[in-house]
């Protein structure tokens, strides 16, 4: 399977040891992952890797990437990502997919570094407080509850079952807790949003595709709609029968959407 061919490497970049998954060839496609970390080489990565050089670093504090104490919010992660890109000689402007918390980070980059992105895909992005509904509070529930809630039908998702559905080892449980802790450092309060971001988005010139699962039980679609109204060249696509993680719950459909957007 394509998924097995890409074990992560550890490299030195942007001041720390970084866990990096990379596969495929073609123009680079940077993926900024969610608060749940990168569980592996996803099916959607494998599909996108047929046409792109898919680059998935684990952000500081996630996976086996080191955790520097100075990374305390989404801006810090945004700056770090641009530093990472320079250190791995990533030619910019680059295409990017930002998932959930990673979407917030991507949006922050876009507001300050317009030359950094060519096209931007934001998937169930954090960063905006919805006007209707609330972002699910991971920290009032267990890690497992959050993982399950991120899917519309976890048991029917082969990606959920493969990575989070079986009995987890103590190491895997530790990783879930590690990710929760790092996410606390970044997004504790105001919870999962920036008071400033929505005011800066009208200045973003990057063509943007917003992708939301209709049944997203983590980040209300309303946030996506606010993003769409704020970013001038943006379009919101809602995927049916899909929760917070289209990149895992609907890999083929998601990959197609992204490819059409990037080539269109």
């Amino acid at each position: 399977m394509a998924a097995m061919k890409n074990p992560p490497q550890l490299i030195e970049a942007a001041g720390i040891t970084v866990e990096l998954r990379r596969g495929g060839s073609g123009t680079p496609l940077l993926v900024i992952h969610s608060e749940l970390g990168v569980p592996g080489w996803l099916e959607s990565f494998a599909q996108l890797a047929e046409h792109y050089d898919v680059i998935v670093p684990s952000l500081p504090g996630y996976g086996r990437s080191a955790r520097p104490d100075w990374v305390m919010d989404a801006h810090d992660l945004a700056a770090w990502v641009t530093w990472f890109a320079r250190d791995v000689d990533l030619r910019t402007p680059v295409n990017v997919i930002g998932c959930s918390l990673g979407g917030w980070v991507a949006a922050e980059i876009a507001t300050v570094a317009p030359q950094f992105f060519n096209k931007m895909v934001l998937v169930g992005a954090m960063g905006i407080k919805p006007e209707r509904g609330e972002i699910f509070d991971y920290f009032l529930e267990s890690g497992l509850t959050g993982l399950r809630r991120a899917f519309h039908r976890p048991e029917q998702s082969s990606e959920f079952m493969r990575h989070w559905g079986k009995e987890r080892t103590p190491d895997e449980d530790d990783l879930v807790e590690q990710h929760r802790e790092m996410t606390c450092r970044i997004a504790w309060k105001p919870y999962m949003h920036s008071l400033t971001l929505r005011h800066l988005l009208p200045g973003v010139r990057t063509p943007t595709l917003l992708v939301w699962g209709r049944e997203d039980a983590i980040t209300p679609i309303d946030s996506g709609e606010i993003y769409q109204r704020a970013i001038p060249r943006s379009r919101l696509v809602v995927m049916e029968n899909c929760g917070h993680m289209p990149e895992m719950e609907k890999p083929a459909e998601f990959a197609r959407l992204v490819e059409n957007f990037l080539t269109g």
């Binding site: 009032l140 529930e141 890690g143 530790d174 802790e181 996410t183 606390c184 450092r185």
Partner: protein, 413 residues
């Protein structure tokens, strides 16, 4: 030092209907405060304060106050207010066990309030500092990932506020103050005794030993307490000094009545989530069937993550030996009794049991947690009276076997 004997009560809101606990399965954090009855709370306050007063009248050396938030476990949502009120009702020491430092965005405010307490009480304050439980972090929105850092920085700032003349500036990682210059400084010099308190987090014990401050063991079983003392002594030895009994406090559930049987019966009020600090979040209705009637309920509960939000508890604290010891001793009321988590008896039995406890742990501060849950006021007052008038006088002169090298007083069969 001569051993000191204090009185403690969580002053919990025990007046909620049991059906509410059955419905929600927990009694903290999200347990809605629409259930809170203001008149009942007013009456509970008067009863609890009277019990502190009576402890002072019967011979206790002082009273202990605590702080919790969003929790029926304790109505003391400000330990400094509790201490202020109690200081005016009793003669002896007031020990705060204590101010949860990480929940404050301005630690200097904490320093100011303790200074006021110490001045107004005439220098009778012991100032305990704690990290707060997971529930405190969630209810005050203090980032649990930074809990230990915030604790240590706030501690350093408070100590500096008391000991270094102002004005000075503090630009730290978590706290930023441009003019630290309070006009209330504690009466005691250099400052009131500082305590650290914990529920078996090895890191906190080590930290307290490094600071050479008293570590108060909060209601743990006897073996676990002995382990805490060992850890403290190991660290002290590494640092080249020898702790005394002054460096250990022991808070211990105590039910004394006229007979062993009555005491065993009344001791059930001590069994339950409210009576085991650290388990007041995520409580289960299962304990109700154990007939405790105590404020809150114990057991796994639906939300153990409330007591351990991300980054709050180290893996060692969660799964290490001490955590295991704790779990083993909390399975049932009988198990709690066997492990010495709750100590019951008539006066003679209690005296012997506490001689055994003193022999094994040598705490300079023995705090009788003598009121809990729905224990009736009359039974509580009788227990306080027996402790104050019979038990404490008999224990005052007892030297620990750890000091004398003599045989440990046997635990009564």
């Amino acid at each position: 030092m001569t051993r000191k004997f204090f009185f403690f009560s969580e002053m919990g809101y025990n007046a909620y209907p049991i059906e509410a606990l059955e419905q929600y399965g927990y009694s903290a954090l999200l347990f809605p405060n629409s259930i809170f009855d203001r008149e009942k709370a007013r009456d509970l306050w008067q009863m609890f304060l009277r019990e502190h007063e009576y402890a002072s009248e019967t011979g206790f050396d002082g009273s202990v106050c605590n702080e919790h938030h969003n929790n029926v476990l304790s109505m003391q949502e400000s330990v400094n207010i509790s201490a202020a009120v109690i200081s005016q009702r009793i003669k002896g020491t007031i020990a705060l066990i204590g101010n949860p430092l990480p929940i404050h965005d301005n630690p200097v405010r904490v320093a100011e309030e303790i200074a006021m307490l110490d001045l107004i009480s005439g220098g009778r304050i012991i100032s305990g500092f704690v990290r707060g439980t997971g529930i405190e972090q969630l209810s005050t929105n203090a980032n649990p990932a930074y809990n230990r850092e915030r604790f240590e920085e706030a501690f350093a700032l408070i100590k500096k506020t008391w000991t270094v003349p102002g004005p000075f500036r503090w630009e730290g990682k978590h706290y930023h103050l441009r003019v630290v210059n309070p006009w209330q400084l504690p009466l005691q010099k250099p400052h009131p005794p500082i305590w650290a308190a914990g529920i078996l987090s090895p890191e906190t014990i080590r930290w307290a030993a490094r600071q050479r401050i008293t570590y108060l063991v909060l209601g743990s079983a006897l073996d676990a307490t002995a382990t805490c003392r060992e850890i403290y002594h190991e660290v002290a030895q590494e640092d080249g000094w020898v702790p005394t009994s002054e460096h250990l406090g022991y808070l211990i559930h105590t039910a004394v009545m006229d007979t062993d049987e009555e005491a065993y019966d009344v001791g059930r009020h001590h069994y339950g989530g409210a009576s085991v600090i650290g388990r007041s979040g995520g409580v289960a209705a299962s304990a109700l069937t154990a007939g405790t009637g105590s404020a809150g309920a114990t057991g796994g509960g639906p939300h153990p993550e409330w007591m351990a939000p991300p980054g709050y508890m180290s893996k060692q604290a969660k799964t290490g030996n001490m955590a295991r010891e704790r779990r083993m001793s909390e399975g049932s009321y009988e198990a709690a009794i066997r492990a010495g988590l709750i100590v019951t008896g008539g006066p003679k039995t209690i005296i012997q049991k506490f001689k055994h406890i003193i022999d094994r742990t040598d705490p300079g501060y023995l705090t009788f947690w003598a009121r809990e849950g729905k224990k009736p006021h009359e039974a509580t007052m009788r227990g306080i009276e027996l402790l104050g008038k019979e038990v404490i006088p008999a224990l005052r002169e007892h030297q620990s076997a750890l000091v004398t090298g003599e045989e440990v007083t046997p635990w009564p069969q």
